[in-house]
């Protein structure tokens, strides 16, 4: 090899190649020639994949250990001139998660590589040219074979492998040395060594990577195995889908033969070994060893029962050693460095490392090699970089179609054979598919069953018919046609297939179903009992993803499409069919519909909330006719979103509804928890009026439990009583001094301010503790009341704050100061009033189940802030004591919420229901409305009705604006008029808080709505053949 000053390796793995690695390579070479650098700087023209596919195409510069990511042809000039000529690395091509100071050696400092410092199987990945035997030899290649055949007896080789604790990496985890021992002892006129390179799991590409990147490693290991068991013939069985791997293995065999490392008299000893390559036609079952052997023999690729095991009677009936690629890839280092070295890595029962192919909903996709026993959490969040787009982790699938799904609760599972098996999954060959909240686990089970149905060889009925029947059952469930007995049937049939199927494929095929039922039974039940797919995947169960995501089931696609036509009244009516509070929701809803909007996958989600707000403007002109009650009397306690919703639906059903409200005004938390600059009071009054116009009575100033008892309500003839009083009691901080004057809970503060209780804030220094919406509301309210300074303390980072993003941004714009990674530990008072707050700094630690990092206190980091008013807004609970005292109604001891029956939504006292925050715990307004709908249906059923509040839309909305061009058209900017900051503080009282967001114009709304992708058409066509 010529000495080069620098070596450049351009990854030409599948992903990098697709993203233009070859073009970069040729551009680089011609540029180097142009500068006369082509002798000094060596470019590897065919290279091995380092596994960092996220940054594809990647370029690595040695010996600097610099990794450039996402390199384009245009970047080549800069790299050559700046880096190669002037020695200044191009910082902008370095993974942005790193600091600029980490440029040199950035490869090893990035999280992706840091977590996998120890590479055994992939020790040559990204380092050598796989088509050069010299480079392999330069990295200790064929040293192990030499050592084995010249210094060791065959049984010593077997013993070394046995002592290393290496287990089969194909998935089963059988001790490799023991298998070698069996074959070594077996009698036969000829023996074979077979390498199983028929990697067929969806999402798995580890073996391909090894074969393409380091083919000599496999050849050397097979020769060692041949020496150990007394075989002179090896067969590599590789699937036809891996043409590059096939090419490189073939080349490597030729090179090794030329050097006398294969063929007759290897290393001039008596040992001879030859390798042939067989190409499989891509049947998944041929990865099963007996089927693979039949395929090599030229027969139909079907498994045969074991015993006899291949070790006794394998290829052509002769003793055969069969190991997979990754197992062989471990052999040479074990022989070179010794069994003890290898056994020191990993866990007690699983030694060494494991290669995983990270795929799915994860930031850093690619190949990783980690010591056995590394936790799933480390692989996903540290190395993998977590889940993209702020979504939540739901499950990881290991072992492909034979494996199972690992849920959040088991993120700390060490990745090793036995612990994975214990929870119903398996190591498999190392595919690791990460799924986020948008994944439906029933759909996942269906996907894998579909795979098994098409890959079953068809020999035995449990697998041939069993997979089909399992698939059909799951398919019915995803279409909403499942019955609850199906779950039992699935489990029974799965159990039978596990025990009775002929080969591993059939025995493990039910694993995805069993593990999803085990960990995600609630999702199956949602599909079967409630006909709901919360992840928004199973199209037959909903009209559109936005409707499905809406806690109040509002037909968002429907009103958006009507709005696009300018049919705002119709849109409003469609909305009010399911939710009577569009003006309120149009301002404060946390819009989960927009998170699931499919338009968001192309450019940006449709701003559904803005459209809702616009159509709600037409409520002013709406009149409703009173409905004369014909049914029983129902009492509701509280005029919050839940209470109003129940009243609305029950009144429409003909019940005689009275709401008891302790305050003099309606709205509950909407009015007393949300400040007027977000939700003007007249908006609430207008929507409440439309409900009272229906005939609902509201009795103000009566506090149930104080002015009137629940018993009395029942005596007065209310056949059903529903308590919907919200959650208004703030949690305490649990620190010393929190009872001092000047410390006031967030909800308490907002309530008092909104009632008009005089609280002196002017000129004060205010500290708000917490990161939720209540914290932001309290902070912005305090600012409007003339606080000198408002500071929000949060123990995590800004991106972890649960408050709505737009609220945080507006808060920053208005001048609120934020201090992150701090926690208050003590309120210090003078004369009974708080004057200082002692805080500690927090450090970020490992990741928790939600993908946020845990925090811990940094010792000796205390500091003190001067303060006049402290507002802890760290959560709240309902005030349910009165019901417990009066009627022994069951209360959850921890959350203080009412305990209600899942089906009837009734408390333990017949006729008394609970809805909204006081039964679900603190949630969003839309969640309370959604719960109100459920409880309204339950009350109707309790009183003898059918509980049906609306009909599902079955037809598409005829629109003129529906046009394929809308899909591809570039979106116009969609910005609303926001009150300028200086005008926000011109208030004298809290009632004068001016609304900040001012909505959109008619043209803007129509333009925005026109870009709806009409997902409902696809869903409706699943269930309605006429469309």
């Amino acid at each position: 090899m010529a000495t080069a000053r620098l070596r450049v390796l351009i990854c030409t793995g599948k992903v990098c190649e697709k993203k233009g690695a070859s073009a970069v390579e040729s551009a680089l070479i011609s540029r180097l020639v142009q500068f006369g650098l082509n002798d000094e700087i060596k470019v590897s023209t065919a290279k091995d994949c380092v596994g960092y596919c996220k940054q594809a195409p990647v370029m690595m510069i040695y010996p600097d250990n610099i990794l450039y990511g996402k390199v384009k042809v245009e970047d080549v000039e800069e790299i050559v001139e700046e880096h190669f000529l002037k020695g200044r690395p191009v910082k902008r091509l370095i993974d942005d998660s790193l600091d600029a100071k980490d440029v040199i050696d950035n490869m090893r400092k990035s999280n992706f590589f840091k977590g996998q410092e120890l590479r055994i199987v992939m020790e040559n990945a990204g380092v050598i040219n796989p088509e050069s035997i010299d480079e392999y030899i330069g990295r200790d290649g064929y040293l192990a074979l030499g050592k084995a055949v010249t210094e060791m007896k065959p049984e010593e080789v077997v013993d070394e492998i046995t002592r290393s604790g290496l287990r089969g990496r194909g998935g089963g985890g059988f001790p490799t040395g023991v298998k070698w021992g069996f074959v070594a002892k077996a009698e036969g006129e000829k023996k074979y060594v077979v390498c199983n390179a028929d990697e067929g799991d969806p999402g798995a590409f580890m073996d391909r990577n090894i074969l393409e990147g380091d083919p000599h490693r496999i050849i050397e290991a097979m020769a060692i195995a041949g020496y150990a068991i007394g075989s002179d013939h090896g067969v590599v069985y590789c699937r036809a889908e891996y043409p590059l791997a096939i090419e490189r293995i073939e080349l490597a065999v030729v090179q090794a033969k030329e050097m006398g490392l294969l063929g007759d008299n290897v290393f001039e000893t008596d040992f001879s070994f030859d390798i042939e390559l067989r190409v499989g036609a891509g049947a998944f079952v041929c990865g099963e060893e007996t089927a693979l052997l039949r395929s090599i023999e030229g027969k139909r690729g079907q498994p045969t029962p074991k015993p006899p095991f291949p070790a006794i009677s394998g290829l052509w009936g002769m003793p055969t050693l069969i190991n997979n690629v990754e197992t062989f890839a471990n052999i040479c280092p074990i022989i070179r460095k010794g069994a003890d070295w290898f056994a020191s890595i990993g866990t007690e029962k699983s030694r060494g490392t494991k290669v995983f192919a990270l795929a799915g909903r994860i930031r850093n996709t690619g190949i990783v090699e980690v010591p056995m026993g590394t936790t799933l959490r480390e692989i996903i969040f540290e190395i993998g970089g977590g889940i993209p787009d702020g979504k939540q982790f739901k499950a990881a699938q290991t072992g492909g179609p034979s494996g199972g799904c690992i849920p959040r609760e088991h993120l700390d599972i060490p990745m090793e054979y036995d612990s994975l098996k214990e929870i119903g999954s398996m190591m498999g060959s190392g595919g690791l598919v990460v799924m986020d909240e948008d994944t439906c686990m029933v759909d996942v089970a269906k996907f894998f069953m579909e795979f098994c149905v098409s890959e079953s060889c068809g020999k035995c009925p449990p697998c041939r018919v069993g997979t089909k029947q399992l698939y059909d059952i799951v398919d019915r469930i995803t279409k909403g046609e499942g019955v609850i007995e199906d779950l039992e049937k699935l489990e029974e049939l799965s159990e039978m297939m596990k025990q009775m199927s002929l080969c591993g494929l059939g025995q493990s095929a039910p694993n995805p179903i069993l593990s999803t039922i085990r960990f995600f039974r609630n999702e199956y039940e949602d599909h079967i009992l409630r006909k709901k797919c919360k992840s928004g995947v199973c199209q037959a169960l909903f009209t559109s993803p936005c409707e499905n995501a809406c806690p109040c089931n509002v037909d968002a696609a429907g009103y958006v499409q009507l709005a696009a036509e300018g049919k705002f009244y119709e849109a409003l009516e469609l909305h009010r069919e399911r939710n009577p509070l569009p003006a309120i929701c149009g301002r404060v809803c946390h819009h989960p519909c927009m998170d699931k909007c499919r338009r968001g996958q192309t450019d940006e989600s449709i701003n559904i909330r803005a459209i809702k707000r616009y159509i709600s403007n037409f409520e002013k002109e709406l009149t409703v006719k009173p409905i004369t009650p014909t049914k029983e009397k129902v009492a509701i306690v509280g005029t919050g979103p839940a209470g109003l919703t129940i009243a609305y639906f029950l009144a429409k059903k003909g019940y005689d509804v009275t709401i008891f409200e302790s305050m003099p005004y309606p709205g509950g938390t909407l009015r007393f928890g949300i400040p007027a600059y977000r939700l003007p009071r007249e908006v609430i009054d207008q929507e409440v009026k439309l409900i009272t116009d229906l005939g609902v009575r509201i009795v103000y100033g009566v506090r149930v439990g104080l002015n009137i008892s629940l018993d009395r309500l029942q005596e007065l003839g209310y056949k059903a009583v529903c308590i919907a009083i919200g959650a208004r009691v703030s949690y305490l901080l649990g620190v010393n001094g929190e009872h001092l004057a000047g410390v006031m809970g967030g909800m308490d503060f907002l309530n008092k301010v909104n009632i008009g209780f005089p609280i002196q804030v002017k000129g004060k220094r205010v500290i708000v503790v917490g990161g939720g919406n209540t914290a932001m509301d309290a902070a912005r309210t305090a600012l409007r009341m003339g606080a000198k300074e408002v500071r929000v303390l949060y123990r995590r980072l800004k991106e972890d704050m649960p408050a709505l993003k737009e609220e945080i941004e507006e808060g920053i714009n208005e001048g609120i100061k934020f201090t992150f990674l701090v926690n208050p530990v003590e309120a210090i008072g003078e004369d009974g009033h708080v004057v200082k707050m002692k805080c500690v700094r927090m450090r970020l630690g490992s990741y928790d189940d939600t993908g946020r990092r845990k925090t811990s206190v940094i010792e000796n980091s205390e500091f003190v802030l001067d303060v006049d008013l402290v507002i802890p807004a760290i959560g709240q609970e309902p005030e349910t004591n009165f019901a417990e005292v009066e009627k022994n109604i069951l209360i959850d001891p921890k959350y203080r919420t009412f305990v209600v029956d899942e089906e009837t939504h009734m408390t333990n006292i017949p006729g008394i229901f609970a809805a909204g925050d006081d039964s679900t715990g603190p949630a969003m307004a839309a969640d309370a409305i959604g719960d109100g709908q459920v409880v309204a249906g339950a009350i109707d059923r309790y009183l003898g009705g059918d509980g049906v509040l609306w009909e599902k839309r079955k037809e598409i909305i005829p629109t003129d604006s529906y046009n394929d061009d809308n899909y591809v058209e570039t979106r116009k900017e969609f910005e609303q008029y926001v009150l300028p900051i200086e005008e926000r503080f011109n208030n004298s009282t809290i009632e004068d808080f001016v609304e900040v967001e001012r909505g959109f114009s008619r043209d803007q709304i129509i333009e925005e709505a026109r870009h709806c992708l009409h997902c409902d058409r696809a869903s409706l066509s699943c269930t309605n053949e006429d469309i």
Binding site: A283, R300, T304, P305, P307, P308, V453, S454, E455, S456, C457, G458, K459, C460, P461, P462, R464, V465, G466, T467, K468, Q469, D472, K489, E492, L493, M496, K498, Q499, M500, S501, L502, Q507
Partner: protein
């Protein structure tokens, strides 16, 4: 060569066996019935139908083994029947019955059908899975034989007997998984082959898939093979 004699325990009973023979053969000699479908004494064993599965104790393995392919070992302890095994065999039969058209009242093999007889003997009297009803072509091209794939259970007896006994190699399995089928000379017609109605392949079909023409319903109810006595093993060719 004299076979080495060993002892195994089958369902708690000590049974003499020859080294190398299968559990099924040893059990049969001892008078223990294990249901079979794809197995036939004239043919090689493939372990395909899974009816003959038994539990081999002390292996630590969860799955059951097919007794027609598993050789005996000295001291082996085998359970051929337990409520659990019986339940699974019945479930297996349910799957087979659900796969194609196995509606006995409309089948001329009824009463002489091994599949039906095994189902009776195991008490499989209903199928809880939806019938898949694939529509397969009926091949009546042969003057003496009807090949109705709708009644096939893919045991592979015809494939093996045509190759191993009749030495004609007429049948083969094509396709994969639920789309597997018995094919004649790769998508050919039975009438174009040298198969005769006396071929073992035709005689030992356990279902109504391969039938001799002209015999349909010729035996009266009560006089058919399995009317008087439950099945005890595979039928023998004429």
């Amino acid at each position: 060569m004299k076979k080495e004699k060993i002892t195994i325990t089958v369902d708690g009973k000590e049974v003499a066996a020859y080294a190398g023979e299968t559990i099924l053969d040893a059990a049969k000699r001892a008078g223990i019935y294990i249901p079979t479908l794809c197995h036939h004494p004239l043919l090689s064993n493939t372990g395909a139908c899974r009816m003959c599965v038994v539990k081999i104790e002390g292996t630590g393995r969860q799955n059951l083994n097919s007794s027609c392919t598993t050789p005996v070992n000295d001291g082996m302890v085998v359970t051929t029947e337990s409520p659990e095994i019986k339940k699974m065999r019945r479930l297996n039969l349910e799957l087979i019955f659900s796969e194609r058209n196995h509606q006995c009242p409309f089948c001329e093999k009824s009463g002489n059908c091994e599949l039906q007889a095994v189902a009776y003997r195991l008490g499989m009297d209903y199928v809880r899975f939806p019938f898949l009803w694939p529509k397969k072509e009926v091949d009546a091209s042969h003057p003496d034989i009807i090949h109705d794939a709708n009644r096939c259970m893919l045991c592979g007896r015809c494939v093996r007997s045509s190759e191993e006994v009749d030495k004609k190699g007429v049948f083969a399995i094509k396709g994969r998984g639920i789309d597997s089928d018995v094919t004649v000379n790769i998508d050919g017609r039975l009438g174009d082959t040298e198969v005769t109605k006396d071929d073992v392949a035709i005689q030992i079909c356990p279902t109504g898939s391969l039938c001799e023409k002209g015999l349909a319903y010729s035996e009266r109810y009560g006089e058919r093979r399995f009317d008087m006595k439950p099945i005890e093993g595979p039928v023998e060719p004429k």
